[in-house]
Symmetry: C2
Subunit: 672 residues, 2 copies
Amino acid sequence: MDIATLRKDHAEHWMKACAIRALAMDAVQAANSGHPGMPMGMADVATVLFEKHLKFDASAPKWADRDRFILSAGHGSMLIYALLYLTGYEDMTLDQVKNFRQWGAITAGHPEYGHVAGVETTTGPLGQGISNAVGFAIAEESLRARFGKKVVDHYTWVIAGDGCLMEGISHEAIGLAGMQKLSKLIVLWDNNDISIDGKISMSDVTDQQARFAAAGWKVLSCDGHDPFDIDRAMTAAKGSDRPVLIDCKTHIGFGSPKKQDTAGAHGSPLGPDEIKVTKEIYGWPHAAFDIPTDILKAWRAIGARGQAARADWESRLNALSATRKAEFERQMSGGAPKRLAATIRALKKQNSDLAPKVATRKASEMVLEVVNPVMPETIGGSADLTGSNNTKTGDLGIFNPQNRKGRYVHYGIREHGMAAAMNGMALHGGARPYGGTFLCFTDYARGAMRLSALMGVPSVYVMTHDSIGLGEDGPTHQPVEHLAICRATPNTWTFRPADLIETAEAWELALTAEATPSVLALSRQNLPTVRTKHTGKNLTAQGGYVLREAEGKRRAILMATGSEVEIALKARDLLQAEGIGTRVVSMPCMELFAAQDEAYRKRVLPAGPVRVAVEAAVRQPWDRFLLGERGREAKSAFVGMDSFGASAPAERLYAEFGITAEAVAAKVRSLL
Amino acid sequence: MDIATLRKDHAEHWMKACAIRALAMDAVQAANSGHPGMPMGMADVATVLFEKHLKFDASAPKWADRDRFILSAGHGSMLIYALLYLTGYEDMTLDQVKNFRQWGAITAGHPEYGHVAGVETTTGPLGQGISNAVGFAIAEESLRARFGKKVVDHYTWVIAGDGCLMEGISHEAIGLAGMQKLSKLIVLWDNNDISIDGKISMSDVTDQQARFAAAGWKVLSCDGHDPFDIDRAMTAAKGSDRPVLIDCKTHIGFGSPKKQDTAGAHGSPLGPDEIKVTKEIYGWPHAAFDIPTDILKAWRAIGARGQAARADWESRLNALSATRKAEFERQMSGGAPKRLAATIRALKKQNSDLAPKVATRKASEMVLEVVNPVMPETIGGSADLTGSNNTKTGDLGIFNPQNRKGRYVHYGIREHGMAAAMNGMALHGGARPYGGTFLCFTDYARGAMRLSALMGVPSVYVMTHDSIGLGEDGPTHQPVEHLAICRATPNTWTFRPADLIETAEAWELALTAEATPSVLALSRQNLPTVRTKHTGKNLTAQGGYVLREAEGKRRAILMATGSEVEIALKARDLLQAEGIGTRVVSMPCMELFAAQDEAYRKRVLPAGPVRVAVEAAVRQPWDRFLLGERGREAKSAFVGMDSFGASAPAERLYAEFGITAEAVAAKVRSLL
């Protein structure tokens, strides 16, 4: 539908949509930076969505039963900022819009979760939003199964562009959604045939409709500039028994004489002349950032139209028993259940006595076996390595279209899609997701793992087979740099527990984290219990601690994590037999150790004794504790990996790569 | 087709295929580790491929015009090892097969490029092989356009399983291949409906045939156990005008009574009893590793059947002019053209004089503008950020179905697919690929970047917008941990050049690398030329060097890379004005610096002066040079990032994050 017809036959809609377009053009211009084309292209779709279909209340951004709206094409951030301002979200003032992309404004270049009420997830890196959305939809199904349709019944709407749909992660997301028949997931495809480099056909000929259909989705389409057609499609979408793609045919930079339908509209300010001409074409004779009162009023009414529905919902929520309601609120808030601490403590105590020899991936399973029954919001899974990751416990049940009460997701071979879905679940609320693969394949999930950290989402990554200890699968599977990678990422807890006790402690921290994702690096191979003396205190919370003190004058400190703690303890035995007093420090989480006060860190790592760290991984993160923290170059050494691994049984690999108790002891002697 | 029919009606084929099956079962059993099911499932397809279609000569694994065979389902490594032994590749002795997955054997758990003649690329991490294959096919098209069909005319065959096809990277690969109409790419899908966790339907309902058709592929299918049907499909595939998927319906663990069609056949030894029973069903009454003479002879004949074709090809190659032939061999060998060094030197000299102020992404383009014309084997590209990555130069032309002479690939929004395709191109030979995206989105390409390093493939990653210096796009786009990530990866050169001169030097190293991939981290923002004094020597090859010496007694050393070298030089100005002798070290490549001898490193970083490093990234990789290399904790400091970035203009960000000349100078003063 062309602009002339829109102005004539859909005047009220058109004016509302123009408000979005104008704000987008003006804000990008003021910032001299940003992406006007996408908001200009999708303003009609967004207006119909917010006006007629999206269940929301601008005065209650956290209303648990709101529809979720996700702008996967995050570069079009001015679209959502304009919507939030126009509909009346309190934080989104006109000043914020005017300060788009400036220091201190909530209107960041790409929408950021936690900065802006109404932004459900941080987007920008393409493909993430649509993949988060799968998680939002899973969480909605799961919560509805737990608490009933009267309390949980909402849609997840996504705007995604060609970029998102070309990204590999989108394949994983739509495959998962299709198999799971997530019928309340609706993706609006901004089909404008343009990407940064030019026409889509320069790089892709994919028939997206056929592709989505092949993945088990329902496919609809509409003229993305005809409000009646958009409305019809959205109505039809809501009646689907499977996820829906609505192919919205749009023009990027709609209305701009020079830039419409060109890549030039994508990521640069239009320029004042082009804005002027475009506004004339729109019939929008208003100054920059000026929204006429009647149009703003109409938008504010849209922002308020959900109030009645919300009031009704609150009555239904209050009609639950006090216990049920409290449980709903606890789950939605992310607070841990009361029984968690005691459950962890009991498991620790029992096993300090039993002192089993188990791989930490198995230890993790043992923890989950007692935790999952007391924490009904956990949703576990694995990217097709369930038996290896040990992520499934007896009580969970499989989550699938026949069993929404199931709490175990077979993600398939979709590490990145799994991670992004976990983020979405956690963001939605009511779900504490954890998912597994091999530590080496965090490489595939990196984009989403980074966003967990940036957003402050407590997704839990169960990463097993965490070193050359995995043996014969060889170097393509053996991580060496991955602990360094996770530790280099801000706001991420990288746990590498030595035994079942530390594993339980790590899980406790991971599951009570408010705003930090966790990586649990777990062994394939069996490891002895080293924490044989029970304490109710969570020592892993200190990040690092003295596991065994030196006997006699303390002349050496050994630092280790995970499977190498056993090696450090054996080295200690060798050294103590020679009268060399040796302390062993277990450091299951470097970040938490670094966060302790200096006095504590000094007690654990005093100046004086020589230091040797041993970890079957690269040295990079250890320099801080070998050379720093009162360490010294001449009195420190590292035993670990400085290359990729090899294919052989694990014991042979440890020997060939020189990661042995004898090697550690020899290093100590050479430093004394 | 069932086994009884195969034994009766296709006895010769069946026996040859059984040889593969038997070796796979026996080798996995001997190793007590590995994946027997896939080789047992695909042995019929593989036998027909090698016997009737694959153009190869076992005595000449490096024959430039051989067909390429890629086992994307790398866990099925015994399939290719068996094929290489049976067809007579010299290195693949029976001893090697018997030592599958043992220390020192070439028969690693997953096939490794460089270890085994006949293995075209390292696989194991799912989705990589099929994505490399796209690169192999692009290289073949490109080389054929350069040298003609008489010299370059071969297919790329891939065996891929459900795992590969569920991975997001496969979506990128098949989308790229479909648009590019890579008609000599044939994917054999091991369609056995099983993944590790069980039946595929537990996680996926995708109609793969429809999916591939939607991406522009031709789709065929066959009974994966009927040699006539397989042959028919392969013949039909070779006549296609677009890439081909052959859906081969197979049974994982074919013939094993207990394990066929189960996940149990995938990744565990069958056990001696099951092997015995299966061999009986096969009609294969031979001991472990025993291949009857007549069957081995038949296989060896297959391995030799390409000899005549190769001899003919060599005649055609020799019929080229001496110059053309030499150029062909140079390009295939990966050796740099003679003119490269002089070209780089001339550019350096010119610009030490001109001293332009350009972003290093722009500098990179300037280097490519002079290099691409003298190095006809470069193939550049970008994942839809051509204008931002500055990877396209005037002379390249666009590579697409209408122009195979083009040397620029619009990869689309496919960072991972691009990286894997680059690996494939480089492995194929005759191509020196480079590709761009934003440094932050190396996250998306990690899996393939790691394989570049593991395989020793000199792919060049042009990673622009390398810090908070990119400004308003904000923290989702601003890398902080990515230099640490690249530096933590073994066998990777991470270059962060300060100006056009260092950028030219970095490119020279990247393009002459034999077995090391390079990351070029480049700025979005303009930077001054700091290397104003020309030298023909490549100082970047030393990794780090004294850029400006101290005046007066040397009391401080500043270390910096890229955009922060300018900051370090300004800090030096401030300190020298106070009489504090300050040396500035530029460290464009930490790995190369660490590889210099100790005497050199000592000269650059002597004990004594205080040290401050400045880089708009996390500290982790700097501890080595601040606290080690004769540094001291109490006399060193870091100015950089310890959190994610923010959305604002770049100048504001540098100020707010305290990465300024004043801050660096203040740190020095506090340490003195």
